[in-house]
Symmetry: C2
Subunit: 429 residues, 2 copies
């Protein structure tokens, strides 16, 4: 018991989190008690007497909140961040993205870029991510190593693609399965990391590939991530390629990769009525990537409709369609896009509130990784300490301080980052 | 007088500017020669021999570009930056904005906030701005003093409003005219600053007010700034208030404030066919404020259509509807919103290119202040030196470096700022 107390940690600060989307739980100069397993024991406005001998780290007037979760990000597009935004999805993939990803055959190149990728995740406060790597097993395992070394969590997807792709960037179904299983075995000893089955998207995967991946997901109980209904031309193309599927989502469903195991589908800008029902029935996550959807002119996903229907929603940066790592920035865009949807849809779908968008980035997105994204008892202590004194010059409320940090702040205000209870130092590049 | 303060200067760096919207003029490690009047004499890839005795400031591999111009910004909304985004225009004004602006009766409060406002303009690289102040003449003159002290340029508008506003925030037509003329006289000795006639918007101004302001603009050849067709409920309200006007724009035109003198109209999200033609005929500037239009759910202005028709377009941050000072960020949103307009309008209006959006922020917006926003001969040397070495880790082209700076950078990379040839130090807060 004494030993347990010594390994416990208590942090004091202005605590904000969202147990429910409707509102922030705020503890002004409150306490969070973290157990030796890195999970939250409880949050308290006044510290209960049984913890009085536990040392307290006092962050004073700073903000303490759950860390960000990024549920859709392409690590090998790191170099292309902020360039090449002059095309829509399909030509963008062929012209800019595929040639860049092909470079990851070279492990030295991969290491140089992936180290920066991991550092920037850290920098912007993202502690867990669902990541697309490339077709290359060595580089994908290297990415897992670097995430593990850094102390960050998430899932690594070896990308499967065997059609409509350049020759240098294709794998066979056998290679994709073998590579994914290799990532699975490689991450088996890494408590915060695991593998995820990753068909790039329907246009890049033959029925043979889809069948092999679906079987692997079922056999190994592996989750799945891919892209869905991002763009109108893409949807039309899928209809041509998979005429027997009743909707784009059905082209995953029929192969066992649409909620048969936990599934992330990025974008979901244009769900048909049938696809919407299938997502709902299968509890498929819609991963909202609004910065990317604006940058490559995809459109605006109906997030309010998803939330009302009980379809799980998470947020993603979608680098390098998205142009930055900050999930705080994605929260801002989520609010803005929900307002454009509201005004252009005759005010039918109410726009999101700040607490709803924050909840998407924390507890809702985090739920894909387990009990992550909240400070309720039993949740992993994934947290950020934000020193917003430069923004807080006129006695703003705690909630307004968070709001101003989201709208105006950046990595400079983030003072400390925790993942699963452990403070994470800056990863070396 | 400035002849004594400045001598001829030569700056060397990677120079980018947009003499036309179609493409960047790029001089890799080129030279810009600036005369003792603070205006550009010329840009050169190789320095002509006649300048060989002029000292050269060599910025090495950094980027040198025209500074940003902000053609729509509300200085007294500074405190509300990044908060209170949960309402559309009219309730937002009544609930959050008007009570804040009323505080500027207190000159000490005004000074505290306006000093920060000027510092932040500087920080984000905006060297000239068309500013809405408040109804208060003292605070408006103080704002001019602080801009002048800092060395920044632009126009200061004492706001006129005499209906549909709280009592504490109304002036009479006489007061509005007297106050504006006072700002005009106050800025007469400030070479980079001047006054601008500023009816808040039609719903806040009685016909008597509009008539008095229009007459003052004509008598004193003063430019005009206001708001136009920002939001659908606002447009409906204007129709009710001004039933004799054929469109919202006509409610300014009939009082001599729609291009009779140079005119800025912010937002212009929903021009009718008639309003569009009137803007074109009168060469009224559409000031595009996309961050604000997203934050308060106004909509997306048809910028491509304006540009094709030859209607002048500039960019504005519209603080605090907009949530940051960065016009680079506004460039990013301008590109993104033009893509949403493109996809949601069946690909009819082609989205903007990077050079077009940059041109809007520099030469197009700057033209409202004279020869500002380019490095062509005779243009004011308003410039930023950007050290992007943290973003340039893989031999990007000069244009890609600018693009990455716009998408990924912030104030940290801006190393030097010039306005009218003079380097501007950080203004004190």
């Amino acid at each position: 018991m004494r030993n347990q107390l010594l390994t416990m940690q208590i942090y004091r600060a202005n605590i904000l989190f969202t147990p429910t989307p409707e509102k922030f739980e705020i503890l002004e100069r409150g306490y969070v008690v973290v157990g030796d397993d890195g999970n939250v024991i409880g949050t308290y406005q006044n510290l209960p007497p049984e913890y009085q001998d536990v040392p307290i780290t006092n962050y004073g007037n700073q903000l303490l909140m759950p860390a960000m979760n990024d549920l859709h990000i392409h690590a090998p597009q790191y170099r292309n961040l902020g360039i090449a935004m002059d095309m829509e999805l399909i030509p963008w993939l062929n012209t800019y993205t595929f040639p860049e990803e092909a470079k990851y055959k070279d492990l030295a190149y991969a290491e140089r870029m992936y180290r920066r990728f991991v550092r920037d995740l850290w920098k912007l406060g993202t502690m867990r991510a669902a990541i697309f790597a490339t077709i290359h097993p060595e580089a994908s395992c290297l990415l897992a190593d670097l995430m593990h070394e850094a102390g960050l969590g998430g899932m690594i997807g070896l990308v499967a693609m065997d059609r409509n792709s350049p020759d240098m960037l294709r794998n066979t179904p056998e290679e994709a399965v073998k590579g994914t299983l290799r990532v699975m075995e490689h991450t088996a000893s890494m408590p915060l990391l695991s593998a995820i089955v990753t068909p790039r998207f329907v246009p890049s995967c033959t029925p043979e590939m889809m069948r092999a991946l679906g079987k692997m997901a079922a056999d190994n109980k592996l989750p799945v991530q891919s892209h869905l209904s991002e763009n109108l031309s893409e949807i039309a193309w899928v209809k041509e390629l998979e005429p027997e599927s009743s909707c784009y989502g059905d082209a995953y469903y029929r192969y066992g990769m649409f909620g048969q195991t936990p599934t992330l589908m990025a974008h979901c800008c244009y769900p048909t009525a049938e696809e919407f029902e299938l997502m709902k029935k299968q509890r498929v996550f819609a991963v909202h990537c609004p910065t990317s959807n604006c940058n490559i002119g995809s459109g605006i996903a109906p997030i309010r409709r998803f939330m009302t229907a009980g379809i799980p929603v998470a947020l993603g940066s979608d680098i390098s369609g998205g142009s930055g790592f900050s999930i705080f920035r994605v929260i801002h865009y989520t609010l803005q896009m929900s307002k454009l949807k509201w005004v252009h849809g005759n005010y039918k779908e109410m726009f999101l509130s700040l607490s709803e968008a924050f909840w998407l980035a924390t507890k809702s997105g985090g739920s894909f990784f387990g009990k992550v994204g909240s400070f309720e008892p039993g949740y992993a202590f994934d947290a950020l300490v934000v020193n917003d004194e430069d923004l807080n010059f006129d006695n703003y409320t705690i909630q307004h301080r968070l709001e101003r940090y989201i709208y105006l702040g950046d990595d400079r205000q983030i003072q400390h980052r925790f993942c699963q209870g452990k403070e994470i130092p800056e990863p070396k590049v």
